[in-house]
Symmetry: C2
Subunit: 230 residues, 2 copies
DNA sequence: CGCGAGCTTGACGTTGTTCAACTAGAGTGG
DNA sequence: CCACTCTAGTTGAACAACGTCAAGCTCGCG
């Protein structure tokens, strides 16, 4: 199970959020006092849909998936890498998680008492402003996601997904991704079988090379075209 | 075309946002100086997807629909009534509208210079905090929407839509709604024909009564059940 | 070497869209 | 006042998209 520690020094932490530069030493020390560090193993759940929000979550190290759970199928919204806060908007809204976050590799999460965190933002306008920007950017991303799901067909959505990993997550035309085919499908809002089928089609069409979870994009422009036409 | 005026007194405006109570007289006067009032007729577009964000939009009077435009079909995200800001998150993000807003009845919109507005939030933490809460709530709504679209089938989604109008927009079990069948379908992410078909089914099943755009819900609990099971 | 999880493929069923024909009502001009 | 037209709404039938089921495969691991 998850291992819990206390931070030794947030100030000198190599994984600390860039946002901390907007706070003075006193407040950073207060964060440290109101924070626990939790180490999650791959597959463990960091926060669970429909439960109360009690902490702000900062992903110091590792990679997680954020997804909406459904009766029959899940929808993976995004893959979050280290150095980012997870789901800030739930701190200022209903205080109930409307998504689940699970580690897809061993991860280290700073959990900061939510009441304290919200108070802190009230005392530090610049910090709050940055957080507002982050929430807004995240909202815009969800708008794009909802639009894609609504407008595009399977091939377009899978093209989106491959491009997302290439451009946003791994920033390379070839990568070994950490998701199973089922997760790839849940990210693209389709059945696992169809995700596999379309990967095969793209391979046969010479757009990508696949080997297990390794993907190399041969024709990125064509893939972008497929994403556009939906 | 839209008629433009200057505000005479934001301070004494009967339509003013409750958020203004968090600002002092000086700042409210500044808002007034940086604001123009635009009157839109039913059907006119207030802001257009993919264009630059130049103003904060406050809906003083009227009703509008906010929707994502697609090649073949649109997705209506929400119906916004008077007294609310429209799409605050675009002010703190990419500054490009990722949705279109259109008046569904004659409306009066206060357009406040966006640079000024963002500066104002920086100077007024309480105001910013309130706005952050609003953005967060709106984000959570979109999460619910994306979840519903992804998980539920047509009948569940139309039940959602009817309940949304009943509970959120008109706050009554019977109402005359302002949308066409096509818009009802665009709100529910389905074809217009299917929206009509399912309305007919629900009528035959004794769940609702419809007459033109008038709807009366006879069995709200059953409708909620249908929404739940999807 | 055998087991199991993840992956792959084909066949089939279901869901939802599209197309087409028709109806009702509201506005328009003679 | 009546024909005309236009738009919104309705319904059925054909079709396409997508999911489900089932069988077989592959590869890492005990």
């Amino acid at each position: 199970m998850a291992r819990i520690t206390k931070p030794e020094s947030c100030m000198r932490c190599p994984y600390k959020s860039e946002y901390l530069s907007l706070l003075d030493a006193k407040d950073i020390n207060l964060i440290q006092e109101n924070c626990i560090i939790v180490h999650f193993r791959k597959g463990e759940t960091i926060c669970k849909q429909n439960t109360d929000v009690t902490h702000a979550l900062y992903l110091a190290k590792g990679t997680v998936k954020k997804y909406i759970e459904g009766k029959s199928k899940n929808l993976i919204l995004k893959i979050i890498s280290s150095g980012k806060y997870i789901g800030l908007q739930t701190l200022f809204g209903t205080l109930i998680y409307n998504y689940t976050v699970t580690a897809i590799e061993d991860s280290m999460v700073c959990m900061i008492n939510s009441n304290f965190f919200v108070e802190l933002t009230k005392q530090n306008p610049e910090f709050l402003f940055k957080i507002t920007q982050t929430i807004s950017t995240s909202t815009n991303y969800v708008y794009k996601k909802i639009s894609d799901i609504n407008q595009k067909q399977l091939r377009g959505r899978l093209a989106d997904t491959i491009l997302y990993f290439s451009e946003t997550v791994y920033k390379s035309n070839e990568f070994e991704f950490k998701l199973t085919r089922r997760e790839l499908a849940e990210f693209s809002s389709m059945s696992m079988e169809n995700a596999v089928r379309i990967l095969t089609e793209y391979r046969k069409e010479g757009i990508i090379i696949t080997k297990g979870r390794y993907i190399k994009i041969l024709q990125p422009d064509l893939l972008r075209k497929l994403s556009e036409i939906g």
